[in-house]
């Protein structure tokens, strides 16, 4: 139960799993690092990924984004002005054009690729934090 709570907290807020397990100093450092990485990504015009069957790797990238928990929702709201996880189908023409336009606007920024890398990295960091909280919780790591 303790391990499950730690992992869930770690997903909800970066570092919260470590805080729950008594690693308060590390928890604060992790929260700061992940948040700075994510916010820098957004400031550099990066975007969170939308899964689409035309690009299978986009599912992995979306998974890395979603690993950030609720913070990912903020990224989606800023990137697309709505909470959306899948790229809309062409049959939904209005939404398709709107999302495509927002995506293109960000891609045109010089720093877009860097920003997207920062955002993806923040998600991957949080996956490692969840796994680390799990290891500490089961006693594999002291």
């Amino acid at each position: 139960m303790r391990v499950t709570v730690a992992c869930l907290l770690a997903w909800l807020v970066p570092g919260a799993g470590h805080f729950y397990l008594g690693r308060r100093g590390k928890a604060a450092a992790f929260l700061a690092i992940v948040l700075v990485t994510f916010c820098t990504g957004l400031a550099l015009q990066g975007r969170v990924y939308l899964a689409t069957s035309e690009q299978p790797l986009s599912f992995l990238a979306t998974f890395a984004n979603v690993a950030l928990g609720p913070i990912d929702l903020i990224g989606r709201e800023i990137s697309y002005k709505r909470i959306i996880f899948f790229f809309p189908r062409e049959t939904d023409r209005a939404l398709y054009e709107e999302i495509l336009g927002m995506t293109r606007a960000r891609i045109l920024a010089v720093t877009h690729e860097y920003g997207t890398t920062f955002i993806l990295t923040a998600g991957l960091m949080n996956i490692l934090l969840i796994l680390d909280a799990f290891d500490i919780g089961i006693g594999r790591k002291r």
Partner: protein, 59 residues
């Protein structure tokens, strides 16, 4: 911030600090590991960039 080198350096510092915090228990060890990781990442990136300078652009 449009300087590629600055962005890369900042990224290296963040990633280096993350892994140092994850793998080290004392602040002193953590700072040393973070500095080493960050500098190594920047150094390797510069070496790769220098090698790629001689490669044809394609086409």
């Amino acid at each position: 911030m449009a300087s590629h080198f600055l962005i890369m350096s900042f990224f290296s510092i963040l990633v280096g600090s993350f892994f140092a915090t994850l793998t080290r228990d004392t602040v002193r060890e953590g700072v040393k590991a973070a500095a080493l990781l960050s500098l190594t990442m920047v150094g390797i990136s510069l070496i790769i960039a220098y090698v790629m300078f001689f490669l044809p652009l394609g086409g």
